[in-house]
Assembly symmetry: C2
Homo-oligomer: 133 residues x 2
């Protein structure tokens, strides 16, 4: 894995950490300032522009909060010059989603420019861990 | 709109033209050769690698075919160096989807590296045209 891929995966991880912690300030920090941003929450209409996208996140994080224990699984990052995209699963109680997260390099930081999440088929959910007898 | 954005939108349009026409050869041409490719069909598991992604498209286009009349609506392209992403709606009978389509510049052509499509909320569907009395 390249250094850039590592940094992009760290930015992706920071996104899910902010999400799971209902951390509005961190969420606002990690979205791009210069690049046009957009967001497709599962089952929502498209949101475009930093203002509308961040308003949606404030609504989610402050009103009801993130799905408990949301975490990212199996992220894979691709970096081409100053754009990167991560494809990963999102694990929440009772469901598994897929996400496409796009990042741009701004002022030396990989910042999120687009998030698209949608449900994966139910049979994709990881089986419960098998306990030893 | 920049020249690059126009070219990316044309590549995006070619994708939907190939889809609507069940044109396997065109679909194979427009996916990237060098860049790692991935695809999230609505309700499917993640597919990665040109071979698996194109096998899925052959299955869709040759077995049952595309949803009749599928077309792209309201595409918006963003280009940063040799990466571009298009966010658009996909209009099919009775449903509206959102797509994130990612392109990379390869050998002078914008080629698709990632496609992620998922349903939009039903109320987003355009109302049926009102017929004059």
């Amino acid at each position: 894995m390249t250094k850039d891929e590592e940094r992009v995966l760290a930015a992706n991880e920071a996104f899910y950490a902010a999400f799971a912690a209902n951390d509005v300030a961190a969420m606002e920090t990690l979205w791009a300032r210069q690049a046009p941003v957009a967001c497709l929450h599962p089952g929502w209409s498209l949101l475009t522009g930093r203002e509308d996208v961040l308003r949606s996140w404030r609504g989610i994080l402050l009103g009801g909060g993130a799905p408990p224990g949301i975490r990212c699984a199996q992220p894979v990052a691709h970096v081409v010059e100053s754009v990167a995209w991560v494809i990963c699963a999102e694990v929440i109680p009772g469901a598994l989603l897929a996400a496409t997260n796009l990042f741009v390099l701004e002022a030396g930081s990989w910042r999120m420019a687009h998030h698209h999440a949608s449900p994966l088929p139910q049979q994709q959910a990881a089986p419960p861990p098998t306990l030893p007898n």
